[in-house]
Symmetry: C2
Subunit: 361 residues, 2 copies
Amino acid sequence: MYQVIDVDLGAQSYPIYIGQNCYVERDILARHIHGRQVMIVTQEKIAQHYLPALQKALVDYHCDVCYVPDGEAHKNLQEWQNIIDALLHSDHERSTTIIALGGGMIGDLAGFAAACYLRGVKYLQIPTTLIAQVDAAIGGKTAVNHVLGKNLVGIFYQPQCVIADINTLMTLSQRDYVSGLAEVIKYALICDARFFVWLEENMPALLARESSALLYAIDTSARIKARIVEQDEKEQGLRSLLNLGHTFGHALETAATYSDIRHGEAVGVGLLIATQLSADLGWLAVVDAERVKNLLAAAGFKRQLFPLPEASEWLRLMRHDKKTQDGKLNLILLKKIGEAVMTSEVREEQVKQVLGPECRM
Amino acid sequence: MYQVIDVDLGAQSYPIYIGQNCYVERDILARHIHGRQVMIVTQEKIAQHYLPALQKALVDYHCDVCYVPDGEAHKNLQEWQNIIDALLHSDHERSTTIIALGGGMIGDLAGFAAACYLRGVKYLQIPTTLIAQVDAAIGGKTAVNHVLGKNLVGIFYQPQCVIADINTLMTLSQRDYVSGLAEVIKYALICDARFFVWLEENMPALLARESSALLYAIDTSARIKARIVEQDEKEQGLRSLLNLGHTFGHALETAATYSDIRHGEAVGVGLLIATQLSADLGWLAVVDAERVKNLLAAAGFKRQLFPLPEASEWLRLMRHDKKTQDGKLNLILLKKIGEAVMTSEVREEQVKQVLGPECRM
């Protein structure tokens, strides 16, 4: 049983399947694998739960497996090159299909490898984390990190399909699972006030991973992402709204060199900062800022989640973000719950203030 | 003074400018550079001739230069990463423009870096070798080599424009210059019998680098390449005809680890082999095979140009080429002068025979 969301990108269009036990449905796999060779890119701890069933469903193909070490620190050019080497050493041809089985890191690495191997081979996304199912696996952003910042090297390269199976979320640690809720809340904040209300009411069910709540949250999030990507695949404008909380969050991840904090946790704190700054500027009503703060807190996101850098260091790291233009910071902020805007007009002192210890959030 | 050939690829369309002294025309540069930042990727020996004039034409921009060492052995992931590092360390933003000033190696490296830097920035091609002006700079193929073979890692990424200035060819060594004629002859062989006749008549003028002959040969070659790329950007079919001679040639380059031979020289020998095999199969008339052999010889291409690997080793290396499908060799061969076809039906013994010392070419 699964629902399908179509991402309409002309010749690069593809479906997102959302359901239970759909990642081993042979008809779905056969529909999107056109050659005889398959390379599954995954991690040991994911493989132990999901690889045997996937390999069984792929029994008609020549199937190789490439393992990537765990941890965002390994989302780098070295591991990307290891995937390319594995493909070459196993004689994979242009007709091969790469399957990314894992979280956003696996999808980003495998997608970037697919984009560059023999100038581009096909790939499928089977995201196994909430954050990847609602965000990373959709929209064709692939990349690796650089010591100077996150996702600085990569390309836009769309998959053949995305298979989001909620069964694969049941083995996630609560910390990993919950971190994905930051992106879900983000979608509500940028463009869906009704979804925000639904989240206020259903956060306990989501935290308990109840199937019906999960399917609704993933479906709603994936639809929002798909509609935005359709209108702005290469992030010329609209798509950058999806970076709400991310410019602040990426800098936090760089400061922590990707080791101690989850991407979703950094985004969660980034959403808090963006909300406070929006309120400070008088754009967002104080009562709404409180609601956002409360929803984020209900999901476990608060400023004290991990040690924060000094305001000036935080700001310096933000300047290395891809969204910088003519040296100016481009920030995504909130006009109200359900409406985000991009601005380059906020003065640095105001940003610095909200990053400092005197911030009320 | 310049002619313009438009490459029609929808949203990725771009012009090819062909002329004398056009690479420093400010109106051309301004038309294709949209930000304030420029990164010129080049080599020391090219820079000494052409960089000062280019920098003078770019005086209105913030202009950085990244040097790549000379030699195909440096067309690798390490040098690609060095370009990315240079861009990051000089704070280049998404609006930056990369200019590839050099031969095919520089264009391939800089284009691949442009494709992946911040998920894609704009780039211009200013090819300074004959082979790059008629082939490598046109059509958006970017790549680096791998120890297992040439151009195995890269993507299709179109430039903003190509500026082919014949003045930049005057400082080439005769060996470097002549090697480019292999690709010119290739275009005539695959689809233009009249151009083949013109080449038979004008080879002395071309070898002497006479302006009018050069402009005609580059214009004709670039037009053929543009028309083929327009019909098959991603090399699903037709475009693979441009690989006439290349499957044989790439293997030679891999065998020599890119050090002792020029790409064009390897292609020249590859064209000889493809011609002989086409004649052996009875596809190409013996008299026409002789004409091809004579034209190639007039340009300096013969089998004895450099030591060749054993037939079986040569064949083994060919199997690592990107054109392999289901383990079968895909070869481009000639039906007649001006008509090439792709085939996977030639028996390996026949290929092996033409690669061995008993071959008559």
